[in-house]
Symmetry: C3
């Protein structure tokens, strides 16, 4: 078998037994997925996934960045191609390099899907690559593997996508109108119309104005356009906004300063510092709008996007070459917190790619400000060791109740059950240790297992 029943539980028998009991109490709870990158179109159209390589390799930068790091070219994996010329060839290349994923969460997610969805019992390798390819291909043609069927099979209760304010959300509307019982909700991610360094920013701002019938050439019109867009999202079930900025910098300019800054941005005259200031100001503007419309705010700072110039030029964004940078929160968030930090009705969920900030800045901030919560370990840290470090570094200062459960944050739909399963197992292992160390009573651990799996997620995201 690829998966062991006791995987990720601590080896010590008493700990393992406690972890298993806790896990048994949450393993079958529904999946609540408040943040991720699946496509609403999949559920609107409900068409079969094309082939194993386009399902598992091509869309998943976790997978191909590792292959690329070991000398497998992007071209040979047909990254960025609309249709694949040789999916079986790509699959074989992937299979022959499957050992590269040893010790990584990607390996666990893949094995989970291979066994639980496709019934494989033997580890993927060069020799069985074709057998894998054939069986998966066959499955994908069946009803049971259509997106909606999988959604139901996975036990998903709600699934949030991540969408541009310029998105028509027609897929979300189509899902709603279809009468299907699945709950797919959009998330308002305005980076492309808020970050002046985003490719095609000026054109997007104009498009935003046209779509909302507001004058985005002016500061007030721009804010009104964003406000309207948020309401359009809310009408389709949106509960949250999301902000992927290079830093966590915020600002609280006067009305006049903000207006002047916006003019120079729109005129394309802003330098790098002004662009950063604008992003900073926009986080505070978004927080103020959240106070009006109740959308929860997520901040994902600290990624240096498109670090590899060559790969960016040839293959575009989100191709495995985003690298974290040290991220300051204590000074950066101060202007925003000075403005709205004590508002009890505001929820801001902070994420990080800089683990040194967990115990130093994030837990102390979340352990004090009423509006702040800590998001789960993100991206490279969506992993067993990453999750354990998060709990160990955060809990003693922020407690459990300033955290918000798990995000799968994935583009790989089939990895969703595996990712939630990993989170449940690691959280239960952590709780088991607290029980074994007599830092927590058993009844509390069982209650917390529920909270970490569903309760805190629903509360934080207002689901």
């Amino acid at each position: 078998m690829l998966l062991h029943e006791d995987r990720l539980f601590p080896a010590e028998p008493a700990l393992r037994s406690m972890a298993r009991s806790l896990y048994d109490s949450v393993r079958n709870l529904p999946i609540v997925s408040p943040h991720g990158h699946t496509q609403a179109a999949w559920f609107a159209r409900n068409e079969p996934f094309p082939n194993p390589a386009m399902l598992f390799v091509q869309p998943d930068h976790y997978v191909y960045r590792m292959l690329y790091s070991q000398g497998v070219s992007m071209e040979s994996l047909e990254i960025g191609e609309q249709t694949m010329k040789n999916p079986r060839g790509v699959w074989r290349l992937f299979a022959a390099n499957y050992h590269l994923f040893r010790g990584t969460p990607t390996r666990m997610w893949l094995d989970f899907a291979f066994q639980e969805l496709f019934g494989f019992e033997e580890r993927l390798c060069e020799r069985n690559a074709d057998a894998y390819f054939d069986r998966i291909s066959e499955c994908l043609t069946t009803e049971a593997f259509l997106p909606r069927a999988l959604y139901e099979r996975f036990g998903i209760e709600v699934l949030a996508t991540t969408d541009s304010p310029l998105d028509s959300l027609e897929d979300h509307a189509a899902i709603r109108d279809s009468g299907w019982s699945g709950r797919i909700v959009p998330t308002f991610r305005p980076d492309s119309v808020v970050d002046p360094e985003f490719d095609g920013f000026a054109a997007r701002i104009r498009e935003l104005g046209e779509k909302t019938n507001e004058d985005t050439g002016a500061w007030k019109g721009y804010l009104a356009a964003l406000r309207k867009s948020r309401l359009r999202f809310r009408a389709l079930g949106c509960k949250a906004t999301d902000h992927g900025h290079p830093t966590a910098q915020t600002a609280d300019l006067s009305e006049r300063e903000a207006e002047a800054l916006y003019i120079s941005i729109v005129m394309g005259k802003a330098n790098a510092a002004q662009q950063e200031m604008f992003r900073a100001q926009m986080l505070t503007e978004m927080a103020k709008m959240s106070l009006e419309d109740g959308l929860v705010m997520q901040i994902h700072p600290g990624s240096v996007r498109n670090h590899n110039r060559l790969v960016y030029e040839r293959f575009g964004r989100d191709t495995g070459a985003d690298i974290p940078r040290a991220t300051n929160y204590v000074d950066a968030l101060r202007p925003l917190l000075d403005r709205v930090g004590n508002e009890p009705d505001l929820t801001i969920i902070l994420f990080t790619l800089d683990e040194s900030a967990y115990s130093r800045e994030l837990a102390p901030l979340a352990g004090h400000y009423p509006c702040l919560r800590l998001g789960p370990p993100w991206w490279f840290y969506d992993s067993p060791e990453g999750m354990m470090r998060f709990r160990e570094l955060v809990t003693e200062t922020a407690g459990f109740y300033n955290t918000v459960g798990f995000n799968d944050d994935t583009r790989a739909f089939l990895s969703i059950p595996a990712r939630h399963d990993v989170a449940r197992r690691v959280d239960c292992s952590y709780l088991a240790r607290l029980v074994a160390d007599h830092r927590l009573d058993e009844d509390e651990a069982f209650e917390l297992a529920q909270e970490l799996t569903c309760g805190l997620v629903k509360k934080a995201y207002r689901l």
Copy 2:
């Protein structure tokens, strides 16, 4: 029972057994508390503590910051009030939210006091809040719960308070004159007369001059005033100074430069950089005075004080809104170390709120410079995970002998035995692992358990 005999020991039976043996050898050693924030007045006056809420909730920012972070208002907890209107109501609010402390050291400290001092066996909750309140209230009226009785019951050998150079130390003098056998010593903490950004700095400088009969309008008079103040502290048993600066920056200006800087400080003309430079210079001045008078120097850098403007304006300093910032030591300490770093008779104890500095800067510095020692995990890291990380990150480079045992650093008198107990348990667990891994012999581990509990503390603080 609230407390298990084996709490905080590792779950693996052989490790647990070794940890327990080590702990049994130190559990009854006296408490040596060389740094903290209890009030000498308690022991001078020896009056009963007023009520459970004023004992456990109101003075303890560890407690109310967590409640505040989850939407409980400071007003409802009567934070900052001289007397409480509704202590029972505050207590009920605290009890109803006791689950927020799950997984935190605060929970352990509280449970320890609840069981060991007041005999509770059931976890505090909304239902038993009144029973708790009543029993604690009753106890507080008895002789056995007066400050001096508790001091003796806790087995404290020496307890250091932290005091401003402007403090009359009359409470310390009163204790000395009372003939009571307890040893309460002051610590010289000059931040308020050394940090130009401190509220009311100019007035304090004048007051310092008046109290010492020195001209603090001039650099030489200012230094003389500080020197006199230190001697006044020494006469009442003071062994150490303490310095809570925003950074660890030090400087070594020429006499002339220092004088000119002081003038602009006193005239209120210094900008932020000059204020920082002045604090930096003063750390070196303090080190030079320590070479003269033998006071041990403690540096607690890296806290952004009063981060929450609103809370600061309404409730003042030290109200749970101090947030750590990344802290550089390697460059910052260089001027001071260039000047006095090789002096064998000087002891400087470094603390940090930036755990990333443990293995990167602090252990290498302490593992080389004769004057440097590492203070125990501070504040947010005065916790089981924090202590374990400290040992794991520091020992391999600095060894045990460049550390100085435990500080309880508390304003909550009743938490002192619990805090020392946690430190002893975690240190013994760490030592047990080294023995089990065959990195340390058993006889060495027993010797080290003694050193970490008492030996190194007394040596470092010259007690």
Copy 3:
């Protein structure tokens, strides 16, 4: 006995058993040492080591920095003396302070040599200092303790030294010409002719020109001189270059800019920023040369060298007073990576003294760029906890195959077997945990144990 068979294996019985099995499969593999600081002269001359103090204390800054930190003077240890006046006295001082090394890797390395090479069974202490001194002294006079005999006894397959481009490499040539079967290869470490802040930089540049018959007064001649030097190293088996810079900063200047910068460097007119820029540019130049001649590139950034002014003035470089500083990689490496980062034939091995960069920057970079690999834990982190943190922080993002096995990096020849033994034990303990957690199959763990011990080292260093 000083050493336990199961040292460093986890205490939990199932884990320990798995770790032991894995270790048994690699314990007798040859030692491949691709980076270190032993002296070729030892093997060229094959003369006896002089005495215990000059073997274990005087050359090892790991040892004497700890003694110095606790007040033992450098003079009393005769640090920096060509010959020792009182080696027995130095040894006694060391023995009397042996407890300072409790919990450090130095202690493990020393105990290993004491037992395995000299047959001691009792821990070194003041009482047995003379017995130790006498037995070691006696051994050192025998054939079996000559450098070549020890090399063979240690099972070393290849041992790299670290050498200046100005080094004649006559010792390496002598070894080759001697017909001895040992493989001692040089490493090209150009810091002293690349870093304008290096003592005597200008004279060295001239010397480089004379030795290579190139005009190092000009940029092109300087590059040609370096190119020729690299080829001279290659002819004696050199496989790698090594670069110890204060930061990881790289640059990619135009030909004209680089030339102008070099002129101001040579003329001694460059300020600190230009000196940093020059070092930065030289890393990129070295990478370009590596593309030509196939030498693997090692970057060891982030050490503040000679931090203790007094010790540097009296005792010189490499005397235990180098302290790490926070190190940025994500921005610093970008110019170099923009230029050559996607070259599949280039290998750059990154090291760090800033562990916070492992998961934040280094693993994501190595998990993407084809030319990047991660070096093993370096210096202060060449330790059980350091190695375990490295695997835990790096593997989930970079996998195992972007790492390069172990470096002993030592000046202490006798510590080599102990250091490799520690690395094998810790890696096997880590693998054992992955197996016990069911994150890795047993057959994979055994394969990885081989790879981490020999396979990846040889592949990365092209040995």
